[in-house]
């Protein structure tokens, strides 16, 4: 995908279609949609700095019990995960109202892993939702 905001919906819809075919419940499909959209937005904004000449790659791997989504950009990757957003601090102007994407990703999928690419490129986030979490 180009690093253009809005195109995350293409990845989101495709991932949702695969998850539905795999038999995920509707609420889990919705969780995945938000997680994939936020991962793509982060890749476009922070990884590729909205340079439309750079692409964001999305790889869906459907296994027997889980769906893995890798979202790949040309950034250097994260040095550390940001702290959990604090709504009270946001309301008091002590924290940027933005910055909830990674929190949502971590909260909505079963696994989320950020991997910095070698030579400062091809960093990716890897998301997993599992079918065995359906019974929870």
């Amino acid at each position: 995908m180009p690093s253009r905001l809005g195109y995350e919906k293409v990845a989101m819809s495709t991932a949702a279609a695969v998850a539905k075919l795999m038999g995920f419940r509707e609420d889990r499909v919705e969780d995945l949609k938000t997680a994939v959209a936020e991962a793509c937005i982060n890749a476009m904004e922070h990884g590729n700095r909205l340079n439309e000449g750079l692409s964001v790659g999305v790889v869906l791997s459907a296994g027997q019990h889980a769906l893995e989504v890798k979202v790949i950009d040309d950034g250097k990757g994260l040095k550390e995960l940001p702290p959990k957003p604090d709504m009270d601090r946001k309301m008091h102007g002590e924290e940027d109202p933005r910055g909830m994407g990674m929190f949502l990703i971590q909260a909505l999928v079963d696994e989320a892993e950020w991997v910095a690419g070698a030579n400062g490129k091809s960093s990716y986030v890897r998301l997993v939702i599992r079918l065995d979490a359906e019974a929870e």
Partner: protein, 119 residues
């Protein structure tokens, strides 16, 4: 690619007789929605509008940038002593709003009737 955000304002009265300003949104709520979300809210007269009810029933997609716009609105409303409520969010986005803590500063309701009955 993103669907344009439309917003329009409507004035209602709650069953208890309180004036309520309803902001109805349609389309996506994302980074491109600043004018529709914050602009529409900021055009309301702060001196007279005390209760703002957000209608998300025709919104399909909200991302973290869109949530940030809602939070900016809540900050401005809090500074102006206004109360903000919302209805019409899908179960998923009700969960997301709850997860990020918005429910502490804006009451969420399933329907407009439920929201108005509580005001």
């Amino acid at each position: 690619m993103q669907s344009e955000t439309k917003a329009h304002m409507e004035k209602l009265t709650s069953p208890a007789g309180h004036p309520v300003t309803v902001l109805r949104f349609e389309g996506d709520i994302a980074s491109t929605s600043k004018d529709a979300v914050l602009g529409t809210y900021q055009a309301l007269p702060k001196a007279t509008v005390r209760s703002v009810l957000l209608d998300f029933s025709k919104v399909d997609y909200i991302n973290s940038s869109g949530i940030a716009l809602v939070i900016q609105m809540l900050i401005e409303a809090s500074n102006s002593d206004q109360k903000v409520y919302a209805f019409g969010l899908s179960p998923h986005f009700t969960k997301v709003f709850t997860m990020v803590g918005i429910t502490k500063y804006a009451g969420l309701f399933a329907t407009q009737a439920e929201a108005l009955a509580a005001l």
